[in-house]
């Protein structure tokens, strides 16, 4: 494909920078307008990864930090496709995840929640999408946990998801929630996103067909990155 621009990011589909109910955003949100750029080579390129960068077990959070046993918790598969806004697959791109354990505790020296660390659970994984943009992880379902915002805030069960895409302009970090969780509607972080359909895009759906009977429940989570134009207009990216 000839170099072409990515579609403008629809900022009305994302959370604004300043979302006072999510208190930390108040002092961490720019107040001046962003400078809008047309894409140059700096934005339509981005890091390229290969299978040499990762290990085969990196997408299996049930086994990738085992210290002699499996982690406690509901065994799940999270799978789906990385697509762009034209519904084209994004192949060979890195997907990274991190999460709390089944009790809602992160393996992080800054997490002091009372729920215990699980000796067999690290809580991070990574994989590359295949030629069809498909990816999967095996893990345990994370627990909800309290956090300091209002005095009684609970994060819905969630998995953090980081995706690169093919260009720095497509770089994205989001969070995956689970269908049917009543905490989704109560969470000030989820609710920073203004649009109900947009929030629904972050909710993984129970996928019984992909469930492994007597073993693991599956959730489907497709990720959409910015799409790009297929044609160049007179305003060319490069001067040739």
């Amino acid at each position: 494909m000839k170099p072409a621009e990515y579609y403008m990011r629809d900022r009305q589909h994302h959370a604004p920078a300043l979302t006072p109910e999510y208190k930390t955003s108040v002092t961490r949100s720019p107040q001046y307008a962003l400078l809008s750029l047309e894409n140059s080579l700096s934005e339509i390129t981005g890091p390229v990864f290969s299978h040499n960068d990762i290990d085969a077990l990196d997408n299996d959070l049930i086994k990738n930090y085992t210290h002699g046993g499996d982690p406690i918790g509901e065994r799940i598969i999270v799978h789906g496709r990385v697509l762009d806004e034209n519904a084209r697959p994004v192949p060979n791109t890195m997907v990274e995840i991190w999460q709390a354990n089944a009790g809602g505790r992160y393996r992080h020296k800054k997490d002091t929640y009372l729920a215990p660390i699980d000796p067999n659970f690290g809580g991070c994984g990574r994989t590359m999408t295949d030629a069809d943009g498909y990816y999967f992880f095996r893990t345990v379902k994370p627990g909800a946990y309290p956090w300091r915002n209002w005095v009684n805030n609970w994060r819905p069960a969630h998995i953090h998801v980081s995706v690169f895409g093919a260009a720095f302009a497509q770089r994205l970090i989001t969070q995956l929630y689970f269908e049917g969780d009543p905490l989704i509607a109560k969470c000030p972080i989820v609710q920073t996103v203004p649009d109900a359909e947009a929030i629904d895009q972050m909710v993984a759906k129970l996928d019984l067909n992909a469930t492994i009977p007597l073993d693991s429940i599956a959730y489907r989570f497709d990720i959409v990155l910015r799409g790009r134009r297929s044609t160049l207009f007179e305003n060319r990216l490069e001067g040739n």
């Binding site: 990011r9 629809d10 589909h13 953090h160 970090i173 972050m202 001067g239």
Partner: protein, 200 residues
Amino acid sequence: MPYLKETPSQTAGPYVHIGLAPKAAGFDIFKQELGWDIAGPNAKGERIRIEGCVYDGTGAPIKDVLLEAWQANAQGHYAHPEDGREVEDDFRGWGRVITDFDTGLWGFETVKPGATKGRNGSTQAPHINLWIVARGINLGLNTRLYFDDCDNSADPVLNLIEQVHRRQTLIATRHVSDEGVTYRFDIHIQGADETVFLDI
């Protein structure tokens, strides 16, 4: 039109290190953490260090921030098929950096990039593209780092910044010591010195 919509962004949260820099979270899981070596051993050009702090609207350093850098090599080539020009073996041009949890200082080593192609035949002054995520940042912030010892006067992006004095917020300052060349680049998320952030 049946276009899909981009998945909304959410904050990387305070535990971003677990996923993207697990050693900093306090444990060792992957054989190889990504993004610690931006330029690789074979890259030509001047070896430099870049360091700084990211400050919040009260002026306090943000200690749980994560930055990613994306840059061309010393010849101005990006390691990407849509640039298509050669780069040195093991030059990826991408890095990931976190702060010291006590001070908020971050730093990384790389080579100084060359000028890159801009739009419509223009040339972009040497720069490093930065992406900043943290707790409290709902959608990653993009900015650029330029160098104070380069001629930035014709750069098409800097010249788009209407308030001329704000262009300085994207320019790193060079310091030379016995340990080598260090550029200082502080980022102010908010306030009178707010860094210019980009909607790319």
